[in-house]
Structure formats: C-alpha cells, structure tokens
C-alpha cells in the first residue's frame, strides 16, 4: 500500500475539532506568573529613565524589569543570516536606552494574573525624550542607528549581461514605477510563551508559538549562557505562522529569562494590538523599472532599481530584498538583467519574511511589466507570456542572478512553464472569459480578466533532520526538526514514513517542534518543510527499515532475502509461523550486543541537506467585477494550475494553495499597515486592518502538474507560499482589464478602496 499521493484525512483533526488542541495559551502550570510588556509609545525616543517603583507596590506584582536589569544578557540578538553588504542591527530583549519604533519593548511587569500585570503596566514610569523619526525611504531622514547615518542597511546589485547596452539596442523601451505597501502574516493565534525553570534539573522548558524552536533554543543558550541540553523548546499546537513567528523575538528570550530569574513559571500571551504593533511585517518597496523589448513582445533587457523599507532592525539581514532582486525574472528568459536595491532603515516595525518573502513583490513587478509589454505591442497578454517563458527543454535553467543565499545562481531545476500556463488558460476557458468580460464592459459593467505566472523558490537548506524510533511496545515515533503551524505534517510525514516502513500512517506518530525529540533542526519557512523535512524523514525511515531487516534476519536465523514483511511483522517466507514483530525487534535492539550486527536501539536519525533550492511554478487566472459606485472589487472566478512536483497529499496541497490565494487577496485589496508621519500605527485592529472574510475569497479551481524535482528523494517542491505569490499581480491585471481604456492603471498594491476610487472613471463618464 502506498500512501504518498493519497488524500489521507488528517491525523491532527480529531484533537483540534474537539477542543483538545494544546496551544501555548492553553498551557497552565502551578504557580505560574503572567507578564505584561511596556512598549514605547514613540517611534523614536531616548529612554531617560525607567522607574518601576509604583508598579512594584501594586498588589500581586512580583517583578518589574528594564534593560539595566538584564546584565550580560542585555546584548543584541544575532542576525540570521549575515551578509557582507549588510550594516546590520538587531534588537535586545529590552530597548537599550533608545526606542526605535512604536511598540518596541521597554520594560516588563510580572504579576499573579494577566489582569494585574496589565493594570500595573500603567504604573511603570518611563521618561522619554521624543526624537524626530525616519518615516520615509528618501535620504536625509533622521538616523535610526548612530553608526548608519544615511539609514542604508545595505545596497546590492545583481546583474546578468550588459543591461545598459541591451536597453540601448532594444527597439522599444518603456519605464514604469511600481510600489507595494506593508502587511503582515496575521496568524489567528498571536504569539506567546510559557517558560519554566526547574532548578533541581537545571532545566529550562519553554513552550513557544514559533516556527523555529531550535533557533529559539540557540538564542536562549547564547544570551542566558545555558548549554543546549539544559534548554528544551517546544512549539506545541501553533495557530498559524505565515512568517510572523519566523524570527526569534525579544520575548522569546525575555520570558525564559524571567522564569529563571524568578524561579517560577511565567506566561506571556501577545494581544492582537501588540501583534499589530510589534510582530514583524513586510512587502514595502518602491520599484523603478525599465524594460526593453522587440515588436513581438520578447523582452530583451530588464532593469529594476528599488528601495526596500527594512524597519528599525534587520533580524533577517537582507533576505527579503535579496529574494525580490534574485527572483525578479520569474519564469521568463531575459538575456540582460540588472536588479539592484537599497535597503533602508525606518523607525517602524522590523521587516522580515512573511508568506512569500520578497517574491510577491518580484512577481508583481515582472507581471506588470509583461502586461505593459503586451499593451505596448498590441499583443494578447497570454501570448506575450508564452513568448518569453523558459521552455521545458531549457531545464535546468540558469537565471544568471545569484540566489539569495549566495550559494550559486538561481537555477530553475524543473518544470513545464508553458504547460502550466496553457492548462490554467484552458481550465478558465480564457478566450470565452475575455469575450464575456468584453461584452459586459460594452454594457457599462467593470468586468475584467487577469493572469499571472510565477516560480517560487522552495526547499531551502541547510538541512532538516528526521528521526524514526520504534519503542518496546512497537510504537513508531517520527521526530522532525521541521515545525507545523497548520501545514499538516503530522499526516504528510506519517504518509512518507509509512510507505518507507511498509506500514500505515495510523501506525506512525509524528512529533514536530520539540527540541527534546531531536537535537538539530531548522524549522518551517520558505516552503521547506515537506521538501527538506519530508526527505529527511524518508531517509531515516528507509534506514530504520533496513536495520529492522538485519535484526529480523539475525533473530530468525535466515537471510534477509528470505524475509517477508506484513505490516509490523517480519516472517521467514518459507515458514510464516517463524515471525518477529517491530516491537520484538525493538526489544532485541535495546540490548544489542556486538554479535547482533547493529547498534543499540531500533532507531535512525538522518539529515537531508539539499544540494540546491527547488522551484515550484504555476499560473493563475482571475475574473473580477468592480462596483463603480463603491469601488468594491469582487473576485468572481479563480483558476490555478500549479506544479510543486510530487504531491504527498493533494488535499493538503490544495488547502495550502487556497489559503495562500486568500492571503494574496488580502494583500492585494484589503490589508495595509499604515503609519502617520510620526510613526504611529493607524491600523491597529481588525476594524482598520481588514483580513479577507468568507465573502471576499472565491472558490478556486485547482489543477496539478507534477514534474518531479531532481533535487530530493521524493521529487517534491514546496507549496506553502506559492498561492500567495501571484495574487496581487493577477488582480492588478484583471482590474486593469476591467477598467479598460477608461481608468488608470494599477501600479501600487494593496489597492484599497481609496486608491481604486482614484483609478475609476468619474461617475458621469460611466457609460461607454
């Protein structure tokens, strides 16, 4: 029985459907204290004095801590990954005399209840000296960090060929300016931590709603001076991540610090306002693009210079703008490219990857360019794309730009880009759709059809770990360094392990996100869990089965080739009554002598270190209708063709794509983090920052193409972020089409009602 490829129903569901999930906020320990954070109300201020005396006197308050109390632990966090062109700065657990964005943590109050801690937070006296703040990407803004007076965190240029010469030689050249605003991952569960210091064991246990528990353990170890074996970090059930739980935040170390300092368990649960104020965000960039092309619409040269807002700190270095710059050309063959950026500090929330990580911006830019070229040449938009796509015979295709990890160039490893586009067009009935839209427009309605293609970088290394262990009762546990925030790894990794072990997914328990279960791990981001973590599980399970065969042969006294496996039972194929179970083998292995020929323990740990990233691809088609009076955009049809290699579980893959598209609709039309000129957040609640609802997201039609990746044992490519990538581009294309010749062109996302209204024709010009 093979389970990879099956729409296996999820093993996590019965727990989550009956209220028996265990999220970090559900964990209560005896004697537990509660923390509330004092956050800067200023975008930029000198912190003159923090006085916790009044707060300490409040009944129920146990402690008040500010920067000076941190001692040697009050050091800036490391930057992951470093980059030679980065002038990097990261935060400490608490602000070190300067606050650099509204919401930065200045002090913390610990009390016997969350209610009391939040009351006492108001009694902490902080004297601020407000300073002018950098709220613009233009040069000349006040410095965010004293040693970076021009706020330039990094400047990078990537190039293929001589773009200036190619632009001079191109028959046609057009320029366009494009912009993308800020948004956030916005998981429905906010961040949170519980930390418990066991003095008898010298053991710090931390439950964190995080995508990277192993990295939290490392930071705790570094900053609190504890060796790894004394720190266990567990990501229990996690209510979504999308990048908002990707970095190690100040609180991830601060709450453990407090638990050890007070020798009491401490819990902190972020509220939604704090999440809006201080969880990392992304996407803000301003692009200036020049494209050279021939009369048939073939692109000959592309130059993009952009400015990237990195916020007040760079916990993830230059990852986001590097991804935008290196992925700029998408699935297209462009002979000469220059892609350069300046990443600038502002007194705003730090910018780190969220679902898509710089790539939605790249897709928006290149797909707007393709639409522009189509318009300029009078060719149909899909035809222009087909004329420029990398062909299957070109694979592997060297894009000619270094990848964001600088481990080599972006090499598109596999895929059939023309086929995914054609299949998307077919399933949408593209030609008929366009004809219908044109007919509707002729009657005065604002109906349009859009399309966009994309490739997505997935399966990032350096490695992921997998461990498979059979215990003396025959229970099979799979440990992975990848984590799950809803991606269904408990099911999909069980499918992978079951196939390797000759068992069923129900025989296998998957434990993700626990540093106590597996020593090394990286975590889940960059659409990597299935590719890298799934491959590690496959390798470990394969090795474990080989070990079981050696053991069974020894125990039964036959050659391995004489064994027959039926479920958890190995038997002598000639005398089936001579049999031994996984449980019995585990007991034998637990006392293995040298004569048994295997090392003790029926378990295996393997790492998968991918040689390179693997790239998913696809195409989306959308139909929209705009209400000319309210400017509301309704997505009335959505078709997807997607290639992420072999599908472990198509049901799960489709769910990832549907969720990604929903998030993309939010970042195209609804969601925007807005600050005023002083850096005060103007979108601090779900009344101001609008997530898509069930009435905003259409049903989608999804078609799969499976071209296998040559870069991992399962042939898979990542999918978690794919759905989100092309949505702003495809909706911009559709909205342009709906407005036809009568409106402005979409050059900025998110669109929002105000921006869209400005594009609409005046009401009196409503009839054609």
């Amino acid at each position: 029985m093979k389970f990879v490829g099956d729409r296996y129903l999820r093993k996590e569901d019965p727990r989550l459907l009956t209220g028996r999930g265990q999220y970090v906020g559900d964990i209560g320990l005896p004697g537990m204290l509660h923390a509330a954070l004092v956050r800067s109300p200023h975008a930029h201020a000198r912190i003159v004095r923090v006085d916790g005396a009044r707060a300490r006197e409040h009944p129920g308050v146990v402690d008040v801590v500010s920067f000076l109390d941190l001692g040697s632990a009050g050091r800036p966090f490391p930057i992951v990954p470093p980059h030679p062109d980065l002038r990097g700065h990261n935060f400490s657990m608490l602000a070190d005399g300067r606050a650099r964005f509204v919401g930065e943590v200045v002090a913390v109050v610990v009390a016997d209840s969350r209610y009391t801690a939040e009351d006492a937070r108001e009694l902490v006296d902080v004297e601020y000296e407000p300073l002018p703040s950098a709220q613009t990407l233009a040069p000349g803004a006040p410095a965010v960090h004293d040693d970076v007076p021009d706020n330039l965190a990094g400047r990078v240029t990537l190039a293929r060929g001589d773009v200036e010469a190619a632009l001079r030689a191109a028959p046609r050249v057009v320029q366009i300016k494009l912009g993308i605003g800020r948004g956030g991952g916005q998981p429905m569960e906010t961040r949170g931590l519980v930390a418990d210091w066991n003095a008898a064991l010298g053991q710090l246990t931390v439950w964190a709603s995080s995508q990277v528990p192993h990295q939290i353990r490392q930071f705790i170890g570094d900053l609190l001076d504890l060796p790894p074996h004394q720190v266990r970090v567990v990501a229990p059930d996690v209510g979504g991540g999308f990048g908002a739980k990707l970095i190690v935040y100040p609180e991830d170390v601060l709450i453990p610090f407090l638990a050890r300092r007070l020798a009491r368990p401490v819990r902190w649960l972020e509220d939604r306002l704090e999440h809006m104020l201080a969880a990392t965000q992304e996407r803000e960039q301003e692009h200036d693009v020049t494209v050279g092309f021939d009369p048939t619409g073939r692109i000959l040269a592309l130059r993009d210079r952009f400015v990237h807002d990195t916020g007040a700190y760079t916990p993830r270095g230059l990852v986001v703008p590097l991804l935008t710059a290196s992925m700029l050309t998408g699935p297209y063959r462009i002979p000469a490219v220059l892609s350069s950026f300046e990443s600038r500090y502002t007194h705003r929330v730090p910018v780190t990857p969220y679902r898509g990580a710089g790539q939605p911006q790249a897709v928006f830019v290149i797909e707007r360019v393709l639409d522009l070229v189509a318009r300029e040449t009078g060719r149909e938009r899909a035809e222009v794309r087909l004329a420029n796509l990398v062909q299957p015979g070109d694979m592997p295709w060297d894009v000619g730009l270094p990848n964001y990890r600088a481990s080599g160039n972006v090499i598109l490893d596999s895929g059939d880009f023309p086929s995914v586009l054609r299949r998307a067009l077919e399933s949408a009935g593209y030609d008929a759709l366009r004809a219908e839209a044109a007919a509707a427009r002729a009657q005065g309605r604002l109906v349009g059809v859009g399309l966009a293609c994309y490739v997505e970088l997935t399966g990032v290394g350096p490695f992921e770990a997998g461990r498979v262990r059979v215990d003396a009762r025959g229970r099979i546990a799979v440990f992975t360094g990848a984590t799950t925030q809803g991606q269904s790894l408990e099911t999909t990794f069980a499918q992978v392990a079951a196939d390797e072990l000759g068992l069923t997914p129900d025989d296998v328990s998957v434990i993700a996100g626990d540093t106590g279960g597996i020593e090394h791990g990286i975590g889940s981001f960059a659409s990597r869990a299935a590719v890298v973590g799934g491959s590690a599980v496959a390798l470990a399970a394969r090795e474990l089965r080989a070990k079981a065969l050696v053991l069974a042969a020894r125990v039964l006294g036959v050659a391995e080739t004489e064994l027959q496996q039926t479920g958890a039972v190995f038997a002598d194929r000639r005398r089936l009554e001579r049999r031994v179970t996984f449980a019995e083998l585990a007991r034998a292995a637990a006392g293995a002598t040298a004569a048994l020929g295997v090392e003790p323990g029926l378990e295996s740990t393997r790492f998968f270190q991918p040689a390179d990233m693997t790239y998913s691809s696809g195409a989306h088609v959308a139909r929209v209708e705009i209400d000319p009076l309210s400017a509301r955009v309704t997505v009335t049809g959505y078709w997807i063709s997607h290639d992420s290699g072999r599908l472990i579980n198509p049901m799960v893959v489709e769910g990832q794509i549907q969720g990604g598209v929903a998030l993309g609709i939010g970042s195209a039309l609804l969601e925007e983090i807005v600050y005023d000129q002083d850096g005060q957040l103007l979108a601090g609640s779900y009344m101001d920052y609008l997530l898509p609802t069930a009435t905003d997201v259409p049903s989608m039609d999804i078609d799969h193409l499976e071209t296998l990746s040559p870069l991992n044992p399962l042939g898979i490519k990542g999918v978690g972020e794919s759905g989100a990538l092309p949505v702003p581009a495809v909706l911009a294309s559709a909205i342009d089409d709906a407005l036809g010749a009568r409106g402005g062109r979409v050059t900025r996302m998110p669109l929002g009602l105000a921006r869209l209204l400005a594009l609409l024709p005046p009401p009196d010009a409503g009839s054609p």
């Binding site: 129903l9 999820r10 996590e12 569901d13 019965p14 989550l16 459907l17 009956t18 209220g19 028996r20 999930g21 265990q22 999220y23 906020g25 559900d26 209560g28 209610y115 991952g185 916005q186 998981p187 429905m188 569960e189 906010t190 059930d237 996690v238 209510g239 979504g240 999308f242 649960l269 509220d271 939604r272 306002l273 925030q485 809803g486 991606q487 269904s488 049901m651 799960v652 489709e654 769910g655 549907q658 969720g659 990604g660 598209v661 929903a662 998030l663 609640s685 779900y686 009344m687 997530l691 609802t693 069930a694 009435t695 997201v697 049903s699 989608m700 759905g723």
Partner: protein, 161 residues
C-alpha cells in the same frame, strides 16, 4: 467578587469572579475549557464564539457575570458523550476545513447555531453567516463546503442535533 452559576455543556458550574472577568477567561482559566480560543480580544475574529442560551456570542466581549444563569455551549460539548464527532466536525475533517485549527471552534459554534435553524442553506448563506469568523489558513472554500455537507448530513439524519 461575584458568584456566578452557569450550565456549561450541560453541566452545572459555579465560580466566584471579578466583575471584569471575561466569559472567555472564565471558561478557559477557571473551567479549563481551553477549546475556546482568543484571537483578537476585540470582537472581530470570532475565534472565541460560544453559544449562550443557544445564540452565538463573542466570549471576549461578554463578562462572566453577564452569563450568570445562562446555558453556555462550547466546542468541547459538540461531540457525543461516546466521543463520536458531530456531523459538522465530521464534515470539517472530511473536507479539510481546518489547518492550524485555531479559528475552528468559533467556526463550528457559529455554524452549529445557524444549521439548527436553517436546514437547507446555500453557499452564499454559509459565506454570509461565516463572514464574522476569520480564518487565515484555509481560504474558506473548504469550510463553506463542510458547512454545506454538514447541512446535508443533518437533513439526512432527520432532526438536527
């Protein structure tokens, strides 16, 4: 402190509470019913939806004292006493209508109340009734399908549970 007495998932419960204690915190922290989740604490996301005297309410916007004397139903009470999933829970599983599961209890409670009174909803009915419950994972498509399938299953089974 005030004494409150409620019927939670059919069982009599009582507690002494601060006047400002939220119903959600009473359920989660005092009664240990952590299936009710807090996503925004300002009444916008719907994750904390429970039924009070049969009506869906945001337990983050209600004080515990306001629920005094009321019947409160939470996600923990949906499955049968034998552990059998409610048809709505079954439909959610069959249709992959949950990923991280954090919004799911609110979705289930909102739909439970709705399907009791509307046995033959359309897709747009379901989308409308769910428009006050945010989900960041699924894109809603499978939740809507699960709601429709559950309605059909409940119809087939006779009276809704």
């Amino acid at each position: 402190m005030h004494a409150v007495r409620l019927t939670v998932n059919g069982a009599e419960r009582q507690a002494r509470v601060m006047p400002r204690l939220l119903l959600a915190d009473l359920l989660r922290e005092e009664f240990g019913l952590t299936g009710t989740h807090l996503g925004c604490e300002h009444g916008a996301c719907g994750a904390c939806t429970v039924l009070v005297d049969g009506e869906p309410v945001r337990s983050c916007l209600l004080f515990a004292v306001q629920a005094n004397g009321c019947r409160v139903d939470t996600v923990e009470g949906l499955a049968g006493a034998d552990g059998a999933l409610h048809p709505l829970q079954e439909a959610f599983r069959a249709r992959h209508a949950l990923q991280c599961g954090f919004c799911t209890p609110g979705m289930l409670m909102t739909l439970t109340a709705y399907l009791r009174e509307h046995s033959s909803p359309t897709e747009s009915d379901i989308r409308e009734i769910l428009s006050g419950n945010l989900c960041r994972c699924t894109g809603y498509q499978n939740i809507v399908q699960a709601g429709l399938n559950a309605a059909a299953a409940l119809r087939a089974a006779g009276a809704p549970r």
